[in-house]
């Protein structure tokens, strides 16, 4: 109780003093290298572990110590949490079961929780009934259910402490994301960008579930929580008011999407949270143009830096004004400290849907680097570093090509050159490690009407493998890369048959881990990507590889269970782009390699 009062005082008054209160418990836990207390490993989203018991020299001895079937078939995203109490906390896709498993007793179920949800939520989830996992603080677990109910559970007993509704699935709002606990608030976004929802980020009181603030992604400044005099864009005050209204055709912002369904990161020193917003409403750009010309559709596909105490927006950076390709801007914002042009900068790095790797200054929101990490990227040639806007290649502009025209060979696909699968950053190497997609698309916009609760998509797309580089694997759909966020260069790359849809892990054991859609967990040498170990789990991996140490033993754990958009798009395989119309050739079908089924696999070295 005392702590709550102390916190309330700092929040109203002394900014600097609030530093000590950035959820103390969560911060302490994530600073202990033995724990994996938050989905991305730490507030900065680095997915890096100081543990080195498992390392380059012995990883080939790594073996499965136990496995646990979740009993749920759909795509399993996210990963297990370990907070030092001898248990692993895991979750499942819809129906969003939660399990506390005894780490020492081969995963015996200590308790389980299963919410009672309206199954009508399933068909309004665009891309499988995935969920990206639990959050933890002060003995409580937080889960955002598919039906938008945010719940707090007692981690000891699994007892429901409170629940609150964060949205309405009957209008197409759903939840897939993992909440983040900052201070005394649990913060969560929303999904439904394919249903014409209006995206929002909302903070609830960790004790009571009471709503504290909500900031929308589109609409008037007072609902986005922007002050055009103080909120900056590319380092300057925005100036003009209500751009979240005026950059849309009449009323279109009300169904303007901008769903923030990815990851939130947090800088305890600056006391700012960072997240990106999704696509602007319908995929048909023509319906989002103003007077027949492209309009920015703010603040879709935008990085937001908000004050977690009241939601006020410190700065914004719109990565793709007037999206024409469904390049959701939700990918994680890695908070990294870098040397840029001889100066120490507080950086924010993104391996973005667009195929570009961005580096921004996370204090000011200025754009420092924008370079292609997926070389096939062709929708834009480059970014204008003065304005921060992409130089769009008109040939691949689905707006310029027009409604009911099939614009072909756009790279990357709407799935993005990287989707939600979170990257890792090693402060030891200064590199980001990420699983990426090497897929291109044809995209045909069409006129669509908005009906609440019905899909509001307005484009069809077909996908094909990105052209392979000289001597590379023909028809490969993914790779795992090491990316230099300051130089804007790929340092090494491992090609994969399928898109790499799992979260990466980097460790002080000179290893990077990731999973493949066929179901392999792989450990590679962090210096050059050389594969050192692999294990075939029962199903494809779209979850994240996590690591922790218990009673002196380091473990690696991952949820397998294929699904998500990758499972929908790749199960049947893609067309061979060189076959032309009426193609008969088929590239690798994921369905030939793996089937559904959620399993947690825990690995350790032999005693």
């Amino acid at each position: 109780m005392l702590r709550e009062i102390g916190y309330a005082m700092t929040a109203t008054g002394l900014m600097a003093a609030s530093l000590a209160y950035a959820n103390e418990n969560q911060l302490e836990l994530q600073q202990n290298p033995e724990y994996w207390a938050t989905q991305l490993g730490n507030y900065q989203g680095n997915r890096f572990s100081e543990l080195d018991q498992i390392n380059r020299d012995n990883v080939n001895e790594l073996r499965s110590v136990w496995q646990f079937s979740t009993g749920v078939l759909r795509g399993h995203e996210g990963g297990p949490l370990y907070v030092g109490d001898g248990r692993l906390y895991i979750h499942t896709p819809f129906p969003n079961k939660v399990f506390a498993l005894d780490l020492e007793d081969e995963g015996r179920v200590v308790w389980s929780y299963e919410p009672d949800q309206d199954s009508r939520v399933i068909p309004v989830m665009c891309c499988d009934t995935v969920n990206r996992g639990l959050a933890y603080a002060d003995g409580r677990l937080f889960l955002g259910q598919a039906d938008n109910t945010l719940i707090a559970l007692d981690a000891e007993s699994g007892e429901l402490l409170w629940d609150v509704s964060n949205g309405d699935h009957t209008v197409g709002e759903t939840n897939t994301m993992s909440p983040l606990v900052v201070h005394d608030k649990v913060i969560i976004g929303i999904s439904g960008g394919e249903y014409g929802i209006r995206g929002h980020m909302t903070a609830y009181d960790v004790e009571t579930g009471e709503q504290v603030w909500r900031g929308y992604s589109t609409g008037p400044d007072d609902e986005v929580l922007i002050d055009p005099e103080t909120t900056t864009m590319m380092g300057e005050p925005i100036g003009e008011s209500d751009l979240g209204v005026s950059t849309w055709p009449e009323g279109e912002w009300e169904r303007g999407g901008g769903a923030p369904w990815g990851w939130i990161t947090y800088d305890p020193d600056l006391d700012l949270i960072y997240y990106g917003t999704g696509n602007p409403g319908t995929w048909n750009p023509d319906q989002r143009a103003v007077d027949g010309e492209p309009a920015d559709n703010k603040w879709a596909i935008t990085v937001f830096a908000r004050d977690p105490n009241n939601g006020e927006v410190k700065w914004v950076y719109q990565k793709v004004p007037f999206d024409e390709w469904d390049y959701d801007g939700v990918n994680e914002n890695q908070l990294i400290d870098v040397e840029f042009e001889g100066e120490q900068r507080k950086g924010l790095a993104i391996i973005d849907r667009t195929g570009f790797g961005f580096l921004l200054d996370r204090e000011s929101g200025e754009l420092l680097v924008a370079e292609k990490f997926a070389p096939e990227t062709n929708w834009a040639d480059s970014y204008d570093m003065e304005t921060g806007r992409p130089n769009v290649n008109e040939e691949y502009s689905t707006f310029r090509q027009g409604v009911d025209v099939n614009t072909t060979d756009i790279c990357p696909t709407a799935m993005g050159a990287k989707n939600m699968q979170p990257s890792a950053y090693s402060p030891r190497t200064g590199l980001i490690y990420a699983g990426i997609n090497r897929i291109c698309m044809n995209y045909e916009p069409y006129e669509t009407d908005y009906v609440a609760g019905q899909p509001y998509v307005g484009a069809t797309l077909t996908m094909m493998p990105a052209p392979s580089e000289n001597g590379g694997m023909e028809g490969r759909l993914g790779s795992f890369i090491a990316w230099d966020p300051v130089a804007g260069e790929t340092v090494w790359e491992v090609e994969e048959r399928f898109a790499v849809w799992s979260g990466a892990l980097a460790t002080a054991g000179d290893l990077a881990f990731y999973g493949t859609l066929e179901g392999h967990v792989k450990a590679v040498d962090i210096e050059n990507g050389e594969e050192l170990w692999r294990f075939k789990t029962p199903s494809g991996i779209i979850g994240n590889v996590n690591t922790f140490q218990h009673e002196g033993k380091q473990y690696v754990a991952v949820l397998s269970g294929v699904g998500g958009w990758a499972g929908i798009g790749l199960a049947a395989g893609l067309e061979d782009p060189e076959e032309g119309l009426g193609a008969v050739g088929v590239f690798s079908a994921l369905g030939d390699y793996t089937k559904l089924g959620g399993v947690l696999t825990v690995f350790a070295l032999p005693d």
């Binding site: 795509g75 009906v451 077909t462 699904g563 199960a571 049947a572 032309g580």
Partner: protein, 204 residues
């Protein structure tokens, strides 16, 4: 330099295709496409040399807009929802149309929504049925089919691939990675002559 590299990579890709064909058992289907296959009754269709009648083409568009998000590309199914080519063969028209209208709870965690409130889908169920029959019994391959030329006038006027390609302005490719160019070359090659490759070589 660029031209020869492209030529080489094309040869490589052809090789891969020839190897794949017998393995995936589609060679016979490709042969069948040489002939005209017609389906009678509800969901009638015509498939001729990989091209289709306008109704079946409309069915492809509706499928891609309304069904592919769950049932995967080209009716083939996904990790989320089943293959509809097989479903059509097994279940027939009444069951197919009824499921679209009423939806279905298949099992916990697997739900087919009702499209009863979607006039576009409801009005196109016969075309959807035609498309999926064409994919199955008609031997129609993957991807976007073209409309049989003699039946073209029945269809809505639409920009053809040829017209679209002709719009492309090569000058705007400045700064595109060489790999993108090779992709573009190959696309253009479907409709244009070798002189384009010469142009690109100059830009290098």
């Amino acid at each position: 330099m660029m031209v020869s590299k492209n030529a080489l990579s094309r040869v490589g890709q052809l090789g891969v295709v020839f190897m794949l064909l017998p393995m995936i058992g589609l060679a016979t289907q490709a042969m069948a496409d040489e002939h005209r296959i017609e389906g009678e009754g509800t969901g009638a269709f015509v498939v001729e040399d990989g091209m289709v009648d306008p109704g079946t083409y409309e069915g492809y568009l509706v499928y891609t807009r309304a069904c592919a998000a769950c049932h995967g590309p080209d009716g083939l199914g996904s990790s989320f929802a089943p293959n509809l080519i097989r479903a059509v063969e097994r279940r027939g028209w009444e069951n197919f149309a009824g499921t679209i209208a009423a939806g279905r709870e298949v099992q916990p965690g697997q739900v087919m929504p009702s499209f009863a409130d979607d006039p576009y889908v409801m009005g196109n169920i016969p075309n959807l049925f035609s498309y999926l029959r064409a994919r199955g019994e008609g031997g129609l391959g993957r991807g976007r089919p073209r409309i049989i030329e003699s039946m073209q006038e029945e269809a809505e006027p639409e920009k053809t691939e040829q017209e679209k390609t002709e719009q492309e302005d090569l000058d705007q490719q400045e700064g595109v990675e060489p790999k993108d160019r090779s992709r573009k070359d190959q696309t253009q090659e479907k409709t244009e002559t070798d002189s384009d490759e010469a142009n690109i070589e100059e830009e290098e």
